[in-house]
Structure formats: structure tokens, C-alpha cells
Symmetry: C2
Subunit: 242 residues, 2 copies
């Protein structure tokens, strides 16, 4: 592949993440009536903002910590702590985002957890909680044996990408659902594609692009930390022997 350096990519990705958060906030502020924490539709508006910020943008940042060149040498512990802390903040925002939608539903007598979006979204957050706890227990607590870490690491890496994929799929179905709920009347119907629909559909595509770029960065072999315990170290080995 073409030799793209990680840091400029990272700056572009950070910019795209910022644009995603700005877009979802602008959507909720400009078209959906802004924010409150009182069980109203303004309380619901925290749901998309917190989910996109936590489960997509911050989660993506946490996933990419080990791709930063300074993380490649020296002690690994500070980078593990940064990875775990970013993931924990992402998880905290996701929990607040769930509180926002549950309290909005309860306040309005709407049932919770019926749509496929809600099943998918809750499954994603639950999987994320398991991933965080298992990661913390295996890699940050000192008593996990090396063989267990080596066994669990590829599983953690795989579910890391999978959870991001599920988050993006949840955002797609959630934005789609919200637009069908909100754009119902006259010329403002979703099917007539008013400005709000174009804006929120574009937000969906930007979130998708962000997710795909993070997954691409994670999959790129030359950006992986050449660990002694990872299969990639064989590339270094092969080079040394050749």
C-alpha cells in the first residue's frame, strides 16, 4: 500500500470526528429544539449527541491509541491507562445517552426497547461494558498470567473493531428512525427531503466514513505496534532472518 504517515491521517480523522459531533449537535440544536434534562424532547436530543460523541468519536480515539508512534517504544502502561481511560469516558457518555432516551420514553409513556435500533444499540453498549471489564482485568490488573493475556488479546482486538461497527450501524438506524418520527407533516415530510433530512443523512454518511477510516487504520499492518507478543512481530523476525 502507499506509505501514508499516521499522524497527518490522525489530524484529518480528528477533524472528521469534530465535524461529526458538530453536525449532530447542530441538528439537535437547530432543528430539534435544543437541549434540556427534564424528560422532554429536548432531553431526548442528548441521546444522539452523547452516543455519537461517546460510542463513535471517543471510542475511535481510544481504539487508535496504540497506533500513535510515541506508543511504540518505552513502557506500555501509560498507553494502556490512556486507552482504558478514553474507553471509560466513552462508556460513561454512552450510559448518559441511554439515560436520556429512557427518561424521555418514561416521561412520555412510550415503551422502551422495542425497535431493532434499540436492541442493536443496547447490545452494543452491553458488549462494550464486557469488553472494558475484560480488558481492564486482563491487561491493567497485574495478576493476569501472560498466557491468558496472549490468548485474550486477539479476541479483545476483534471485538474492539466489531463494537465500533455495531455503533456505526446503531447510529445509521437511529438517525433514520428519528427522521421518520420527526419529519411527518406536509412539505416537511422525510420523503420530500427537506434541508433537515439532507443534513442528518449527511451526518450519517460522515459517521460511517469516520468508522470506516478508524477500522482501516486499525487493520493497516504498517501502523501496528510491533509487539513481541503479537503475530506481527513475525514480520520483524522474518526481516531479521532474511
Amino acid at each position: 500500500m502507499l506509505d501514508l504517515p499516521f499522524l497527518p491521517f490522525c489530524v484529518l480523522l480528528g477533524g472528521l470526528g469534530f465535524v461529526c459531533v458538530a453536525f449532530v449537535s447542530a441538528w439537535c440544536q437547530h432543528w430539534r429544539g435544543g437541549f434540556a434534562w427534564d424528560g422532554s424532547a429536548q432531553m431526548f436530543n442528548w441521546h444522539p449527541v452523547l452516543m455519537v460523541t461517546g460510542m463513535v468519536v471517543l471510542y475511535g480515539a481510544a481504539a487508535l491509541v496504540y497506533r500513535l508512534p510515541p506508543a511504540w517504544s518505552g513502557p506500555k502502561l501509560p498507553w494502556k491507562v490512556l486507552h482504558g481511560t478514553l474507553a471509560l469516558v466513552a462508556f460513561g457518555l454512552a450510559v448518559l445517552g441511554l439515560v436520556a432516551v429512557f427518561r424521555f420514553h418514561n416521561h412520555n409513556g412510550t415503551p422502551n426497547m422495542y425497535s431493532l435500533h434499540s436492541w442493536l444499540g443496547l447490545a452494543t453498549v452491553l458488549l462494550f461494558s464486557c469488553q472494558w471489564l475484560a480488558g481492564f482485568s486482563a491487561f491493567l490488573l497485574p495478576w493476569a498470567p501472560t498466557w491468558l493475556r496472549a490468548l485474550y488479546k486477539p479476541v479483545h482486538i476483534f471485538f474492539g473493531s466489531t463494537i465500533l461497527m455495531l455503533s456505526v450501524a446503531s447510529c445509521m438506524s437511529g438517525i433514520n428512525e428519528k427522521l421518520f418520527f420527526s419529519l411527518k407533516n406536509g412539505t416537511m415530510e422525510y420523503k420530500h427531503l427537506p434541508a433537515e433530512a439532507v443534513f442528518a443523512n449527511t451526518l450519517g454518511l460522515l459517521i460511517l466514513l469516520f468508522g470506516v477510516l478508524v477500522l482501516g487504520a486499525l487493520a493497516r499492518p504498517s501502523w501496528k505496534r510491533p509487539d513481541a507478543d503479537s503475530p506481527d512481530s513475525c514480520q520483524v523476525l522474518a526481516l531479521l532472518w532474511s
Copy 2:
């Protein structure tokens, strides 16, 4: 990781793919009025069936061709032809699935291409058409130089997984959207979670599980064909040298 053999996994995955196709067909037959090719709602019903069968199940089968142990040795051409043919059939079904929904919309005066689901789904199919054409030109036509194949191969592999991820996200938003459209009246409202909603939500989760299992199988290093031109060959090299 635990040493799971590919073939039993493949049989289970095939069973799950069959269940996905059976579920989506049963949903459309039992709850949505069955099938026709006349612009009616029965014509629309071909859309979910063809998209799940083509863009998820057959696409997943095409993606996994090189993981079959018989494909690891001997000439690669027959496996390339199988991979390309399965992908082409998947693409053909997807095009028919698009024709079904466009003709249903046109017949009923409903605009096309306004929802995020439609943007995402069409982007997925367009990306798939580019992927197929580029793959055919680079790997099946004889005049592509080796350096171009080597350069393009990781891109083809990455977009192979990405397109499956996009297909699954399209299915999630599509099933969610269809249930909001269809379940509107009285006790049959989506929010009261009637039997159809539970069934179709479950279909969504089964499609998701199928997609995640295919992506997991593709990512698993020990199931990859040890090609001379792939980075994985270094594992064999390292073993030989150690």
C-alpha cells in the same frame, strides 16, 4: 486463540445463512402478504429477501472462498473464478432487489432515495460494483502487472470487509424502517412489540451475527491462505527460520 477448525465453523455459518434467508422469506410471506412482480407491496417484499440473500449471505460465501482448505494448494485460478462468480451472483440479486423497491416506489408515487437507509444501501451496492470490476480487472484479466496486483490486494481485502459491514448496517436500518412503516395500527403498533416485530428484530440480530462471524473468519490469521505475496507468509518464514 483456540484452535477452531474452519470446516465445522463453515457448516454452522452456512446453517446460519440459510436461517437468515428463511427468516426474511417467512417474514415477507407470512406477515407482509407474499411475493409478486407487479409494482405492489408484494413486489417490495422481494427487496429484503434479495438484499439479505445477495449482499449478506452469498456475499459472505464469496468472501470466504479462499479460507477453504482445498483452496490453499494447487492453482489459484479456479478459486478466483468461484470467488468472482459468487460475488457476481450476489451483485445480480442486489440489482434485482433494487429494481423491486424502485418499481414499487414508482408504481405508488413515492419518491426514491430520500432516507438514510436508501443512501447507505445504494452507496453499498455502488461500492460493491466498483469492487467487483476492480477485482475482475486486477486479478482475473491476465494483463494486470504483478506490482499492481500486490498494491491493490490489501485495498480489495479491506473494502471486501467494509462492504459487508455496510450491507449489515443497511439491513439493520431497512428492517427498522420497514417495521415502523408497517406496524402502525392499534395493538399492532411496533412499540407494542407484536409477534412480527419480535420475529423481524430477531432476523436483524441473526444477520448481524452472520456478518460478525464472516468478518471474524476473514480476520483470523490461521485461516488465511499462506500466499507468497501476502504479509502472512512471514509467519511461515519465521517458523522455518526459528
